[in-house]
């Protein structure tokens, strides 16, 4: 069972209160008219799917009902940090290797 720190509620809650919502920081194309099919396809369907640190969106469905972001290791499932939408992650695979 994951214990997830909700940055809005400012407390740890159990995994069952949350819903994972996939990769975070995917920017919608700025100019839809000028966006090619390849770019739309990439935005809609193609994902990083890393083995290691993953920045992803979670939804506090049975709590504050707000979205936030999580950096989580996809092998150990360890949650490395949580942060609000609009903020940037401070941890990725490069910084983790440097910290070791």
């Amino acid at each position: 069972m994951l214990h997830i720190y909700c940055p809005h509620c400012e407390e740890y809650r159990e995994e069952e209160e949350f819903r994972p919502k996939g990769e975070a920081h995917i920017a919608r194309p700025q100019n839809p008219e000028e966006t090619s099919d390849e770019e739309w396809g990439d935005y809609l369907f193609f994902r990083k799917n890393p083995r290691g640190a993953h920045h992803e969106q979670w939804y506090h469905a049975a709590g504050c009902r707000k979205f936030f972001n999580v950096t989580r290791d996809t092998v150990s499932y360890e949650i490395l940090e949580t942060y609000k939408v609009g903020e940037l992650p401070t941890i990725d695979d490069t910084s983790r290797r440097a910290a070791k």
Partner: protein, 416 residues
């Protein structure tokens, strides 16, 4: 290859079964092959077998980082069916089903394919509309299917609670009599043995660490046992497809998720078919050994950890106990997770890539086992001819750019 038969069994009995030939060899890698297949699971081994058998290409290596059939082939819940909604998917899975029906004879290896029927339950009016639509679509494609009412369901599965007193009463079901189960390990072993006999090299404990390319064309693979060359490389690595794609510098519309399954303690026969429910989210069958084999949907988050979360197990067993109250006292023996590579439309990717000579067969998500012979068959043709087999063509990666998706979430979302 030593032929397996009843006579051989008796003959070897006389020498205490001590003189059986090894099932396959463990060769040293050559420096160059015609075709390399990355991934020694069911799909990869089937690809190698059909390359040798149907296309006469035997200078082939299957490169496997662990042991043969040790990934999702060993972790799935062994269900085989072909009742998919859309033509493209139905044709592909039915192609596999037809191969399943003669597979034990073809491979001279008992894959224990048992056509005991698969039942997909409906619990709401919309479920029943979808079931009717899917069964009609199946029948138009020449795939067997029936819509059952509650009385017919109860006759087939007397143990199931079909009363009106449950939270989600059973209203009906779709039924595919030709569907069933097969022995998952035997499928990998049977394909491995038959491919080996035709001259294919099975390179176990050989991990691919890189894909060497030059001028946009593939040259071979870097492995833990050195570089191995080939002008054609087929990647069939299920949950790790994304990792391999990264080595080749391409992106895939895939996310890897844990998918869990459980088996109970062995019991006397109580369930002689496969029961699935999308709505209460669970499915169950009983193996020949007697244990109940149980599964449900994927864990929602991305993961490569080959284990899942407790809430998913609890949710799965709630559904099973709701359907079969008698199973509430059954103890679970083992639980495990496999890593499935899910695509946005719940259909596989069998495709060329921007790298010349490099092909991917992946994205089978939660339900690849049923397609094992069909997947290998069409992928072998794709590798041998350098262009997609007609049944594989709609599953090109280009569909995620053109938008021509084949949405099979209804047939593959929970039922695997």
């Amino acid at each position: 290859m030593q032929h397996y038969s009843g006579f051989e069994l008796v003959k070897h009995g006389l020498s205490h079964h001590e003189n059986w030939q090894r099932v396959w060899r463990n060769p040293e890698p050559r420096s160059q092959y015609d075709i390399i297949i990355v991934g020694g699971g069911g799909h990869g081994l089937a690809t190698a077998y059909y390359l040798a058998k149907e296309h006469g290409i035997t200078n082939v290596a299957v490169v496997e980082k662990g042991w043969l059939g040790g990934g999702n082939t060993a972790r799935n819940t062994t269900i085989v069916r072909s009742n998919y909604l859309w033509d493209e998917a139905a044709w592909l899975y039915e192609h596999a089903m037809k191969l399943w029906e003669g597979l034990s004879q073809d491979l001279n290896y008992n894959v224990m394919f048992s056509q005991r029927g698969v039942m997909n339950l409906g619990h709401t009016l919309q479920d029943m509309r979808d079931i009717n639509r899917r069964v009609n679509a199946n029948r138009l494609n020449g795939i067997d299917g029936e819509v059952l009412d509650v009385k017919q369901i109860q006759e087939i599965v007397p143990l199931m609670d079909c009363s009106r007193n449950t939270r989600y009463p059973v209203l009906g079901a779709s039924w595919q009599p030709r569907a069933g189960v097969a022995r998952h390990d035997a499928v990998a072993w049977g394909f491995a043995r038959a491919a080996d006999a035709l001259g294919v090299h099975l390179l176990q404990r050989t991990e691919v660490t890189g894909i060497r390319t030059s001028g946009g064309k593939v040259l071979g693979v870097e492995t833990s046992r050195g570089f191995i060359g080939a002008k054609t490389v087929g990647v069939v690595t299920a949950g790790n497809s994304g990792v391999l794609a990264k080595m080749a510098g391409i992106r895939l519309p895939i996310e890897s998720h844990p998918l869990q399954a459980l088996v109970s303690e062995p019991m006397k026969p109580v369930l002689d078919t496969v029961v699935m429910s999308n709505h209460v989210h669970g499915y169950i069958s009983q193996s020949d050994k007697g244990d109940l084999v149980i599964g449900a949907g994927i864990d929602g988050y991305n993961g490569y950890g080959q284990r899942g979360s407790y809430p998913t197990i609890e949710h799965t067993l709630q559904a099973i106990v709701e359907l079969f109250p008698a199973f509430s006292r059954v103890r679970m023996n083992r639980q495990w997770g496999g890593i499935v590579d899910t695509t946005p439309d719940a259909c596989p990717i069998i495709s060329a890539t921007p790298v010349g000579g490099l092909f991917f067969n992946c994205g089978w998500g939660t339900g690849g086992f049923k397609a094992t012979p069909g997947s290998g068959n069409v992928f072998a043709a794709t590798l041998a001819n350098g262009k997609a087999h007609p049944l594989a063509a709609p599953f090109s990666i280009d569909r995620f750019i053109s938008g021509k998706l084949i949405d099979e979430h209804g047939a593959a979302g929970v039922a695997h």
